[in-house]
Symmetry: C2
Amino acid sequence: MAQTTPDSIRHYVRIGLLAPLRDPDSGYKLFGDKDIKKVKFIGRAKGLGFTLRDIQTIFDHSNDGRSPCPAVRDIIRQRIDENRDRLAQLNNLQRRMDDALSKWKSMPDGEPDGEAICHLVESID
Amino acid sequence: MAQTTPDSIRHYVRIGLLAPLRDPDSGYKLFGDKDIKKVKFIGRAKGLGFTLRDIQTIFDHSNDGRSPCPAVRDIIRQRIDENRDRLAQLNNLQRRMDDALSKWKSMPDGEPDGEAICHLVESID
DNA sequence: CTTGACCTGTGTGCAACACCTGGGTCTTAC
DNA sequence: GTAAGACCCAGGTGTTGCACACAGGTCAAG
C-alpha cells in the first residue's frame, strides 16, 4: 500500500497522533518502542480503511484505559458502508464516462462557434 | 448528483472559473447568459469526471479560439484510467474490510494490557 | 424606519500528506 | 582543519471542491 514516509511521520506528529520524546540538545525526535508500535498500528489501521481521526479515537480510548475494540467494530462498519456508497458512485461514473467516450467516437470535433463550449460534453445527459 | 450551491458558485468565481460582471453600485455579481451557460457546462463536465482544473483548461482553449474537443477526449481517457485504478483499490479495500469484520466476529474484545493497542486490528495481515 | 432575507469578500476547515524554505547538525574525506 | 554531503528541524504552502462562519452592506416589504 501507500508507504510510511518521513513526511507522513511528520504529519502524524503535527496532528498529535504521535508525540515522540525530544533530544533536549538537538530538538530531534526520539522514537521509543511505543512510538514504533503506534506507527505500525497506524499502517495496519489505514490498510483497513480507518482514518487518522479514527485512529486518534482508538488511541484515546486506549489511553483512558478503555478497550478500543467496540469502537473499532463500530467504525469499520461505518467505513464499509461509506465505501460501498463510494464504489457505487464510482461505478456509475465509470459507466457514464465509458458511454460518453464511445458515443464521441462517431462525433467530429467542433470548432468554437460562440454557441457551444464543447458539443461533445454538451451532448451528454 | 452533487448540487450547484451558492457556495460552489462562489468557489468557481474565487478560482477564476467564472468572472461575472459586477453591479458598480452594490458590487453584486451579475450573471449573464454566458455565465449561466458556463455553470451548466461545469455541471455536465463534473458529471463526466472532469476536475475544475480540466474545465478551466477547456475554457482556456475555447477562449483562445481553439477547439477544446481534442483535449476533452484526452482528458476523459485519463480520468477513465484513474477511475479504474481507484475502483480497483476500493474493491481491494472492501474485501479487506469484509474479511476483517467477519474474522472479528469470532474474537472477543480485549482489555488494554499495555501490550497491544487493539488485537483486532493487529490480527490483520 | 425597522425587520428580515439576501448579498459581499475574506478567512478557515476538511484528509493526508508532499514539497519547499532556511537553517542546524553530524560525519566523513581530504 | 575544514569543507562537502547527508542527515535533521519547524513552519508554511499547495493539493481538491467546496461548506461554514464572520462582520457588514443592500434591498423590498410592512
